[in-house]
């Protein structure tokens, strides 16, 4: 078997598999995304991916060091899609907000994949590009370096943490997800008011709000705070 994985750029011969497909990192990652969507976040297995590709499972080890390596490549793909779907306007607050939402929705577009990768930090190219972009927006907007780094840290971790949390909820099977959402109208809405007065009093509001993500609310709070600090620093 492969002593070490051949980097994609150095790959020369493209021998088709028995079933005729010609493999590539790109094809494998995209097929993995499809398998994840169809079989859930725990449904990506070497055998299944091999079958989906029309190749022997062990062939994957010619392209990735193991399933863990493949997982990181999937995460990098999600981050890349977020960056591609975003464009700068020059208005720092709007740009940051849009970038955060782009990252969030890129992950939510592949919830099963996101649940697998969102808490991994890889240091791969597209991830670094996102970091450079965020820091650039903040420093160009006039934040001093210390404030920019502090805000960058809060921004990126907040976005990734919510991407993981919300993706985890979406990645459940359809029935499990429905059960979870209904929990606010079934379990929580029926708790006795004597023991749980506050939940009982707000049950209707909870059922309306909890199925949505809190990310936009928290993100806006963070950006409002940053804008206020920037304005007051300019005045003072």
């Amino acid at each position: 078997m492969a002593k070490q994985v051949v980097p994609e750029s150095a790959r020369r011969r493209r021998r088709p598999t028995q079933q005729g497909t010609v493999l590539s990192e790109r094809l494998i990652v995209h097929t993995a995304l499809r398998v994840l969507r169809e079989h859930g976040s725990t449904g990506l297995t070497a055998r299944r991916l091999g079958t989906a590709l029309g190749a022997d499972p062990s062939t994957l080890y010619r392209y990735f060091a193991g399933m863990d390596d493949l997982t990181r490549a999937i995460g990098e793909e999600l981050m890349g899609q977020a960056l591609d779907s975003w464009s700068a306007t020059g208005e720092w607050r709007a740009d940051l907000r849009a970038l955060g939402l782009a990252i969030h929705s890129s992950y939510l577009a592949h919830p099963q994949a996101a649940a697998l990768t969102a808490s991994r930090v890889t240091g791969r190219p597209r991830e670094i590009a996102v970091d450079e972009t965020i820091l650039g927006i903040l420093r160009t907007a006039g934040f001093p370096d210390a404030a920019a780094v502090r805000l960058y840290h809060a921004f990126i971790d907040l976005s990734l943490a919510f991407a993981a949390l919300d993706a985890g909820a979406l990645a459940l099977t359809e029935e499990a997800r429905a059960t979870d959402e209904e929990m606010w109208t079934s379990t929580y809405a029926r708790l006795p008011a004597e023991s749980y007065p506050h939940i009982a009093a707000t049950a209707r509001l909870l059922a309306a709000r909890m199925p949505h993500s809190a990310y936009p609310v928290v993100l806006d709070t963070l950006l409002d705070d940053a804008a206020a600090r920037l304005a007051s620093a300019r005045r003072g």
Copy 2:
């Protein structure tokens, strides 16, 4: 085998295993936490847990419907420990802050377990108790129901999302974690200033800040915002 799991309260006979241990849900959950700590977040297996308990793996199915059910019980235990370590003072902002930090640090105290459970919502008793507590603090502080629910939602999801994110980082093996932290002094600090001017300019600040959690900063931002809204509503 067990058609269905016998609830812990209805359990009568406590027959010791061949190796002499007397099982219980509590013992199993606590042993599972130990196994997770020793073998990592993917190291909890039915066979290993059975060995650690001195019991056959299949015996676990007398207590839990499957490994997934056990996982939820572990999450419930973490939430319970958070609630136990917290006490109210009556000052809403301080109480909320302390509760958030209690949840966060309860999860981080068992990072391998947290990585497994933080994004699950179970609707079990201790979890409901936490929800009731938070809503109680907010409504007693004078927030109208709509604002209380909005803030509750942001608060709990923020806390769980960061618990999961930060636990994920801590749950890596010691060497992998060290490698990740050093990435800010190795990879990021050495990126060429021509291609990555903003990262290069702030490399030292990044290396100092990134290994810590952004949770307290974001939590305080959220609570500051809430306090300001409450004060202005009182004035208006």
